[in-house]
Symmetry: C2
Subunit: 252 residues, 2 copies
DNA sequence: ACAGGGTTTGTACGAATGTTCAATTTATTT
DNA sequence: AAATAAATTGAACATTCGTACAAACCCTGT
């Protein structure tokens, strides 16, 4: 019969590491519900600690958020290292697939692991609304990573401009992040595919490599149709369906 | 000298349409900061109306959120119509590009328009955290659209399974949505590319078409590298940098 | 002018939020 | 064992939140 082993601060200490518990709980809740939808009380309850302990260890809420990314900053170093280990030979046709493999591989493994799944989800979902704290996290931790990958892609695609490479990098990143936070594919495929199927990883890598090659063909005109003129019209107002509430709606 | 013309409720009414003003302000703020980060008071202030008027017209906050998507539901009908106008001929090599054009075109035009830019941004950013209200919006408005596009792709790619098609659809959607809410490409390209450049639209369509074709080649083995085994380790804890606050941090 | 319904507004309620503090307990060092 | 430091806790603080309400306002048709 094994005891409920919990992480310790030091090897011989018998006290549970409640600081780490708080970070874990915050990571999970922020990833699932979003930063502003999560209260410190919910984090404390999920971590099994009293409310005041959260503030004691991490201070204000936004610093707790920042601490999550600081905690995982080493994985970014690893991703940069994996990229450096790719031989950047513009002549080798496998250079681009290798870059993309270094791009998607570590992220998908992180998402599939029990340790990093919520951190990966958090990155995919919560860094869009650029405000004070998300912008700081983005610039500090992820801009250098993106720059390194764009530089590598630029070497593998000498005929493309940096603007083009930056665009396709964002396309690839979008495909990757949306796949990570995807919860619809099972429904949309009518049950034929499941979340986290490793077959999707191969498909994603092929999608990105093929997409980059197709978008940045050295020749002049690619395969797409001509772009039409922009248009958009705001639809007329229409009332929404009612719900149970004491609220008395205005008559139309 | 032109007067500050504002939308009217009816053609002959001289009163400004404050109900529409509220919806506009909510749309913009929700898109920029996220649902939970926006207060009803901020919406009222941005719309130039007293606080109580928001509740008078839209009731609870989540109904105001829902009303935005109800307001734009006609654009989804238009996207479905644009898809139906695509001749779904599996023999025609231009069928896939035409589907993708019907996929990205209307969205990018909406994003580029002054009327729909924030709605497009809202869709791209705010529907990830599936909870009560976002899940309802997703299933009601966007699942039918996704199903229609997946059906069309299935027709254009008879050799692929529905699971594969659902996956690449999600990849394409991710690329599109991330491009829509992108604010980094200017920074990452070192100023060489600007947001909303129509050249990116062509690039995106080519990326998606090429990506789908590369991922779903009829032959057996595609171009990607073999998938390595999963691994991930949670890094050891490291303290974060301090900030100005009355909070006294614990000594390490 | 009158009446009535839709519209507008100031205000206030209870609940929930982030944050802080003093006090207590536990661990470590002297 | 005594002293010091760290960890832990309950409670409370001032704000801010969503929501509701009643009174006032405006417009239209009688």
């Amino acid at each position: 019969m094994d005891m409920p082993i919990r992480p310790r601060k030091t090897a011989d200490a018998l006290r549970p590491d409640r600081k780490a518990d708080i970070l874990l709980a915050a990571e999970k809740l922020f990833a699932q519900r979003g930063y502003h939808a999560v209260t410190i009380r919910q984090i404390a309850e999920a971590a099994g600690v009293p409310l005041a302990l959260v503030g004691y260890y991490y201070g204000p809420k936004h610093e707790l958020f920042h601490a999550i990314f600081e905690h995982w900053s080493s994985t970014i170093e690893e991703r940069l290292l994996a990229l450096k280990n790719v031989g950047l030979d513009p002549q080798d046709a496998n250079t681009l697939p290798r870059i993309i493999d270094a791009f998607v591989g570590p992220v998908l493994r992180l998402r599939a692991s029990s340790e990093g799944e919520y951190y990966a989800l958090l990155v995919a979902r919560e860094l869009y609304h650029l405000q004070d704290e998300t912008d700081r996290v983005m610039r500090t931790y992820f801009d250098p990573l993106a720059m390194a990958f764009i530089d590598a892609l630029q070497l593998a695609l000498p005929h493309a401009t940096r603007a083009q490479v930056a665009w396709v990098y964002q396309f690839a990143l979008g495909a990757l992040l949306h796949h990570i936070s995807d919860t619809r594919v099972e429904r949309l495929s009518k049950g034929e595919s499941k979340q986290g199927d490793p077959a999707a990883a191969v498909l994603l890598a092929d999608f990105i490599v093929g997409g980059i090659r197709a978008a940045l063909v050295p020749g002049p005109v690619p395969v797409s149709l001509p772009v039409p003129l922009p248009f958009a019209s705001r639809p007329e107002s229409a009332p929404s369906s009612p719900k149970l509430s004491t609220h008395r709606r205005p008559k139309p």
